[in-house]
Symmetry: C2
Subunit: 360 residues, 2 copies
């Protein structure tokens, strides 16, 4: 593979000096982009995920239209539960629905730990198609749902907001829940390993629903699940591929998150980036954390808030600019452009010492 | 007024020794109780709030049926926006709706800072009716929405979950938002002061939506709003009435919350009670924080989780047992009974030194 033209993102993941702060956005490929909407009118969501050429096309859109510093594969976290044997439907306005949610030991026993090449080949194909079209312009990020977040969907059957059934389940059937977590951990680790073999330059785990948990359940399910996936991945000997962890609603657990083995913590918008930086020290890089709601305001406010996030992290390396959650469908593309421009224009001043260091 | 028969709750608020941990539950008066449902079939929600005898009746129900250590007035946080001049409708299944939400400086100018005796007399009447029927058995807690949470509803117009309009508003019209916050602060402080004059033994501020905010907005709107209400209240010279603060989704801000002037911090279920205790030291008492979802599991699990919460706080005074959020409507009454019994039975062992201290 030819070397990357723009490797700012990967350098920042490794906390190496860069001349400016790299930026990409969670859900940068998606509904707010007119070019995505055009495709979406012709194909349903799952067809877009399952057709490598279309997934690659969508993955490329923000790179070409917004000039972000990384691409993230267009896919969905529920491809793993589906590959494990569940039937997932995604209906407009309703969100994902799982036909027979997991409730019993027998349900767990029926689930398989899929060979990704067999059951998730379309994702690996999409990675290869994307890499071909990217031609080394920017790195490609692969991803998976974190074990607890997948478990929550698999038990709940849909995104209910509070996932109360899943939260009762881990209390009433802890052994079944642990067996389920175990299978998910292996499924996710194998899937991410296959993504790395297919050529992604980094992988991100999304623990979107970690913040719903009480401390005991968080420790036993969310944190342990993430830690075990990362251990399996690192054991596979690809330490050169950064692992990013987005854990939402867990601002109070920064030190613990920094010890999961992740190379980068992706912070939601409620986190204080300056405090997080003090807390994690030089253990991990930080990604984030502009409130996605700010992108619904005027472009000048977007620019002001972007500057605030940069200032809050302050001088030095190890920051990847991103949102604190995904881009909202209602976001004006103009605002996203303004955000990317602002970060590119304003961030070099926070890297003066980085550049000096590089020159020496 | 005759002295209270049971003042465990007030002693715990002041971090004084008690022979066991007191317990009451947010939304202990409400939909999960069949006796409430019976009344609710005859009257709509706002009629129940506005009719002192009915509000007193509902407030007493959990005291009489569950033997909790404090009563909390049956009312709603939106009585303040209504008294300020907005029209609030509460429709079944839809939640509260505000007819003309606040959007402009002119909207703010039209709002009044109500004289509680004039505009909220029915709440003060309900307090007096409740106190009469309580006959000093347990303390009565009054309450109000915290300024940010009220502002969020007043701007959003309804409980949308993410309150995105309110979060855009504080960015696009910060001066208007500050003027609105100012009026709400005064309205809430006067209202709570009137509740104290009417005889409540403690007051709780509910900042249910603080956890949606980025650090800058949290500091400027949620934390500053709470701090100013508490300052106004304390300036009124009733330091003997404890002020409790429930701030949801802000586990990472424990030290800051402990410095708002509140006497008690009420923690949501995601907080680690042991860590919070270390963080706040002897500045405030702590209330909480069982996951309300645990009450949907079996009674034995309820008992186990209640014991865990007690153990997490550990020995000593300054803990009021509560949930991390309100009782869910689907909660079996049997489970609430089991919870109260468990806390009463299991907590004395954490107060051995308290008792020793009292005996000396």
């Amino acid at each position: 593979m030819k070397p990357l033209e723009n490797d700012l993102f990967l350098k920042a993941c490794r906390r190496e000096p860069t001349e400016r702060t790299p930026i990409w956005l969670m859900r940068q490929a998606g509904r707010y982009l007119p070019s995505y909407q055009t495709l979406r009118q012709r194909y349903d969501f799952l067809t877009l995920c399952r057709t490598p050429e279309l997934a690659a096309e969508i993955t490329l859109q923000p790179v070409e239209q917004l000039d972000v510093d990384a691409a993230i594969l267009f896919s969905d976290i529920l491809v793993v539960p589906e590959a494990m044997g569940l039937t997932v439907r995604i209906e407009d306005g309703l969100g994902p629905q799982i036909e027979h949610p997991v409730r019993t030991a027998a349900d767990v026993a029926r689930l398989v730990i899929p060979d990704p090449h067999e059951k998730l080949g379309y994702v690996l194909e999409a990675i290869r198609a994307t890499l071909e079209r990217l031609r080394g312009r920017v790195p490609l990020i692969g991803f998976a749902g974190a074990p607890w977040t997948l478990l929550a969907y698999m038990v709940e059957g849909s995104g209910t907001g509070d996932f109360r059934r899943a939260r009762v389940f881990v209390r009433e059937a802890p052994d079944v829940a642990r067996a389920l977590l175990e299978k998910i951990v292996h499924a996710v680790a194998r899937f991410l390993r296959a993504q790395i073999e297919a050529g992604v330059h980094a992988v991100q785990l999304f623990d979107t629903w970690a913040g719903l948990l009480d401390p005991d359940s968080l420790t036993e399910f969310a944190l342990a699940g993430v830690r075990r996936v990362i251990r399996e991945l690192k054991a596979a000997g690809r330490d050169d591929v950064p692992i990013l962890l987005f854990s939402r609603g867990t601002a109070a657990w920064m030190e613990t998150l920094a010890e999961t083995g992740a190379d980068v913590l992706s912070l939601d918008w409620t986190c204080d980036l300056a405090r997080a930086r003090r807390q994690v020290g030089d253990r991990v890089a930080l990604q984030g954390n502009l409130d996605p709601i700010a992108l619904l305001a005027s472009p000048d406010i977007v620019a002001r808030e972007a500057r605030r996030v940069l200032a809050r992290f302050g001088p030095g390396s190890g920051h990847i600019f991103n949102l604190g959650h995904g881009v909202l469908p209602e976001t004006p593309v103009e605002n996203v452009r303004r955000l990317v421009d602002t970060v590119k224009r304003e961030s070099p001043k926070y890297h003066v010492e980085d550049r000096a260091g590089t020159d020496l």
